[in-house]
Symmetry: C2
Subunit: 119 residues, 2 copies
Amino acid sequence: MRIGELSAATGASARSLRYYEEQGLLSSERGTGGQRHYAPPATERVELIRTLLAAGLSTATIRDVLPCVADEAIRTPWLAARLGEELRRVEKQMAELRRTRDILAGLVDRYAVSEQERR
Amino acid sequence: MRIGELSAATGASARSLRYYEEQGLLSSERGTGGQRHYAPPATERVELIRTLLAAGLSTATIRDVLPCVADEAIRTPWLAARLGEELRRVEKQMAELRRTRDILAGLVDRYAVSEQERR
DNA sequence: CTAAAACTTGACACTGATGTCAGGGTCAAG
DNA sequence: CTTGACCCTGACATCAGTGTCAAGTTTTAG
């Protein structure tokens, strides 16, 4: 699979795929001419990366959490802490989002009421 | 209340407060020397602004949603749509965050298991 | 009155993921 | 071999909120 196909398959631009690689999130084999080739599982990897990005994790964090390279054993204990930390961050963010949703929902309600009063 | 006090009261930097004003989110009275003065309700307003910002609304959106100026009547019908739109956006974001949380929680679990197996 | 603390505007820097452009190389079909 | 589609690297642009610095003014305390 070349970069254009992976891009089409995942919705990530070629630019982004190269960036993910530059950041150590994604790897590729290079053909004779220096072009990138991807194995099929790359598709799911990219999708996971995008999910985590969309949830506000930075590429640096994703790099830590999804070790591309195989030195997993070394940092495993630290990884656990990191994961827990991120989990807490995400849950905190969810709580904030809930607050905002309630505020917005309140505004919507208030509007609906005044709209009704108008009749 | 001057800008330093409002800053201390809300945790927003003076720089940010000026920026909010520049963006039409916050208003102030100017004294003789041109310095900003705020009425007490400004504190809550700033807190609301920060909540919405933290939830990912842009200043432009906040400006629409919290009309500073009193032309509320004119855009009310449009405002309802805007609010609903933002509400949907926030709910979608929450769903994404839930997915991420589950992924992270899954990773944490997996780690915990392999940690246990190690003993 | 004077010095320090607080304020003013304006400008530039940063972050992080992505877009976009330039100039050049590679690959596959005719 | 040639052409057009695809790919390469490198660089600069973007957005939005905030930090920070500079040079100057205002307020407040002594």
